[in-house]
Each structure stands twice: as C-alpha cells, then as structure tokens.
Amino acid sequence: MEFVGNHDPFPDLRVKIGALELQNPVLTASGTFGYAREFVDLVNLHRLGGVVVKGISLFPRMGNPPPRIVETACGMLNAIGLENVGVDRFIELKMPYLRGIDTQIIVNILGDSLEEYRHITEKLSQVPGIAAIEVNISCPNVKKGGVAFGSDPDMAAAVTRVVRDNTSLPVIVKLSPNVTDISLIAMAVEQAGADAVSLINTLIGMAIDLRTKRPCLANVIGGLSGPAIKPVALRMVYLVARSVSIPVIGIGGIESAEDALEFMLAGATAVQVGTASFINPRASEEVVEGIGDYVIREKLQSVRDIIGALESD
C-alpha cells in the first residue's frame, strides 16, 4: 500500500530514452555545463539525470575570435566556434572525472565531414563510462559548401547513419531549429536509426552596436539561447513529438521546473537546462527538485504520467 497522509519522499522520476535509463528527466545542455567539474562546488552532480558535455571534435579547435558573446533581451547570442580539447584529450583528461559521477554521461560530438563523425564515434565507443552520444548536426558540412548537416533531411540522415553504424551506444540526434520544417529532419533521423532526438539548438541571430556601427560579435552572427527562445522551442518540441515515435528531449530557455514540465506536457521525455546554468549554477538541480515536488503535489504515480499529457479541445 502507498504511504498514507505523509507524502512519498522519493517520487518516481525515472525516464527512458531508448535503452538509456535516467534517474530523472533533467540533463545539462552541451556547452553550458563545461565538463561538469566546473560545477562541483555548487551542484550535487549525482542528482542530475545526466550531463551532456561540451561538443567534442576529432581534433582540438581554437574557436572564434572575441567577442564571442553578447547579451540580448532575455537571452544571449554566442559564437564560441565549438572550442574544445579534441576527442583524445577529452578521453584522457575529462573522462576519468566524469566516470566518477553517479549520473549518465552523454558526449556531444560534432564534425565537418561524415568521416570526422565516424572517427569520433569509433573512438568514443571504446571508452567505458559513456552512456550515450548526442550528435550535433548544426555544424557546416565542409564538403557541401558549408551548408549545415542539420538543414537538410538527407544530410542529417547520413550523419545519423554513420554514427549509428559505428556504435552500440544510444544515439541522440540534436536538431537545429534553423530549418523550414523541423519535423521532416526529425523523421529523417528516426528513419536513419536515431534512438532519440534533442531540440532545439540555438537560433541563429545577430546584434549590432549602434555606437560603433559594428556587429557585436566578431563572427557577426551567433546562436540565440535563454528564456527568449522558449516559446519557439516549445512549439518545435510539440511538433516533433507528434511526428516521430522515438523519445524527444526538450531544450530551450528552461530555467525552472515549471518550464521543464511544460516541455514534458508538449511531449518531451526529458529536458536539458542550458543558459540558465550561467545565471544560476544550481538551476539544473533545482529543476530536479521542483519536478519531484510537482509529482508529489499532483499525486502522480510517476513523472512519466505527464509526458505528452497536453490537453486540448
């Protein structure tokens, strides 16, 4: 029998992303949580559903010249340029620590050719402690004149297949919102063997400094993130969740448990907390706590009860 009177202090927050089991639906978004260690003084890392690390490429990348970030209304633009230590140093320097955290470690990968995606996937598949691979397909495909992999269903499917064929780990494909019909891309990567999709990556945007008559970012354009993008992200998650049968991970402007639960109502099985971690380093853990409180307060059997439970007439 269930507890009488007093509430259950351990709400059931478990969710499954394909074969990947999460103790709760809250992950940190790639590029916003470093390699987790940066946050150890502030966040109880073991309480997170998972950590998605900064995007990793085959070779180290220096990233873009500064300025790389600029604040905009309720958000920020970034053009970090995918600075990272490269897959070999990631495995050597970052994995030993990550492996010690009692949570799922998801490695976000990027590349500018199918070959590069294949190489990284092969390397990561040998490494113990990695729970899944998240594929960033928002990067330009050098062989196709720099068009982003994620902007074309065929190219998106091709990347997915390359990763799928070279690993037995769950494959999450991270979708770019900078497309005409995100559902088409989602269906293409599902067909190509993705275990899940995560969305959205940043929306491309621009800011200009009137005083200097120059773009605020050295790279001219950058990716918009933060609360400003939440309504756009919510709509895309809603659309994609109705078009595919694989799990959807919702991302975009999530700061609180309320935000996260809205994404789950729209059909997300899990969520990622991004920019919010910059403002409140504890944001991800607070979202976990808040979702737990909600499940108790609403007397749900499990958090899974609200996935896709959006009501409409």
């Binding site: 990233g63 500064p66 970030i69 604040e71 309720c74 970034n78 910059f278």
Partner: protein, 262 residues
C-alpha cells in the same frame, strides 16, 4: 578554490560620486575564501532581463564575512545595482578566477586607474599582511578628476605604503597619466608592478615595465556569461596566438603571457 552562491544582504550602500557606488555585502563564505584579484558575479535584479550576471572585482573583505564591491554605472546592469537599498539581498557568486600572485620578498608598485582601483585595495591589504617591510613599496592612483579618486584615497592611507595620485585634469596630485608618475619612480628591478584600469592605461604600464625589465601583473576584463569556465565566451588573445579565458585563466595575467603588441 571553492565557490559559493549566496544571497548577500546589502549592509551599506554608498554613492561615492554621481556614477560610482560602493556596496558592502554580507557574504559569509565568499568573503572567507576570497583572494586579492578574484571577482564575483552579481545578478542585477531578479527578472529575466537583463539576464546575465555582471562581474565585479572584490574591493576588500573583512574577517566578519563582509565584502565590498566598487563600481561605475555604465549600463543597465550597473544602473539597476545603483538603485539597490540597504537591507535588500543580491545573488552573489564567487570567488572566481585567479588573483594576483604575491611574493613577500619583493618590492611592489600598485597602479590603478579609475574603477581599476577596486581590486588594488584588497591587494594592498594582503601585501601589508604578508610583508615585513613596505617602505620601498608604492601605490599610484589615477583617475579623471579629484572627485573620482578622493573618496577612495583615505582607505589606502591606512597602509604603510607611499601613495601618489594623478588626474587627467590635474585637480588632484600630478597632472597627467599614471605612466607619467611611473616614469618619475625608479622601480627596483626585482619589483612587481600590479595594474588594473582601462586597457590603454594597462598597456602603457605594461610597455613601460617591459622597457625597465620589471615584472607586471594585469587584471583584464572581457564580456562574461558564466564567470566560471563553462561557456568559453570570455576569451582574449594570449601570446603565440592562443586564446585564454579571462574568468578561469585570469582575470590576472602576467603581461608577457598576453597577446598584447606592446
């Protein structure tokens, strides 16, 4: 290098000039852990706009868990902070970054310009704690006008270190720039110069130090989102065309490690 996020009560609000404000905050852990040259990220207001925290150097700390920041109103974030009231709380996160490195055996010269004076008070305090003798040490404080420097001067007079002031308009101390003062001093060659201020000022101080073969540590600024090494947004050019992150590799650097064309 522990970091804390605290809701700090504003113990004291001081409007030093039209644009300059000093806040005294009750921040137990941050004040205990802080080292000179480190900074904190403060959230201006509680709404989603402006979204990001703002970085501020730690002006000084006290053993009863208090910390001061000194800032100039330059935009929306600092504008909001300048409207805070005593008794209100602010979300403060820190201490962050690598501060100044101190060698008790060597003579020092502290060179601050404008709000760059902020971290130097904490530094001067620590230097006086660790050094036996500060007779040959020097503090140079520069600013635009007397009004800007005068409210800060009395705090530095607590130390046994000589102070020289310099203003753009000559209204206090020497007329000119901090480098004009530095040129009149004969810096011992094992001296460490610490400087913080507007970038052109720091560059000319660094150039002078290089000429005189004296070590120089600078505290630099850049735009920041996280302040803790997670966003990789705060890069600046270092030597050999590499990039460094101001929040985690700095904000204090040896000038020879930066990509400054002096």
């Amino acid at each position: 290098m522990s970091q804390y996020q605290e809701n700090a009560t504003i113990i004291r609000f001081e409007q030093l000039t039209d644009t300059n404000v000093r806040l005294t905050l009750q921040t137990e852990e941050i004040a205990q852990a802080a080292k000179p040259g480190q900074f904190v990220m403060i959230r201006a207001g509680k709404s989603k706009d402006p979204l990001l925290r703002r970085p501020f150097s730690i002006h000084q700390t006290s053993s009863n868990g208090r910390m001061q920041v000194l800032f100039k109103v330059t935009g929306r974030g600092t504008g909001l902070l300048a409207h805070c009231k005593e008794g209100e709380t602010l979300s403060v996160f820190g201490p962050l970054g690598r501060g100044f490195s101190i060698d008790p055996a060597r003579p020092v010269c502290l060179v601050g310009g404008g709000m760059g004076i902020a971290p130097l008070l904490f530094l001067a305090k620590r230097i006086c704690q660790v050094k036996q003798n500060t007779e040959t040490d020097m503090i140079v404080l520069g600013g635009r006008t007397r009004k800007e420097i005068e409210p800060l001067l009395s705090d530095f007079q607590f130390f046994d270190i000589g102070i020289m002031t310099v203003t753009d308009d000559g209204s206090l101390g020497m007329h000119g720039m901090v480098t004009d003062v530095l040129k009149t001093l004969s810096l011992p060659n094992n001296c460490i110069v610490y400087t913080c201020g507007p970038e052109p000022m720091m560059k000319s101080v660094a150039a002078l130090c290089r000429e005189q073969k004296v070590d120089c540590q600078v505290s630099v600024e850049s735009v920041m989102a996280c302040g803790m090494g997670a966003c990789l947004g705060c890069t600046i050019k270092a030597k050999d065309d590499r990039y460094v992150h101001v929040c985690s590799d700095g904000p204090v650097f040896k000038t020879e490690d930066l990509g400054w064309n002096l």
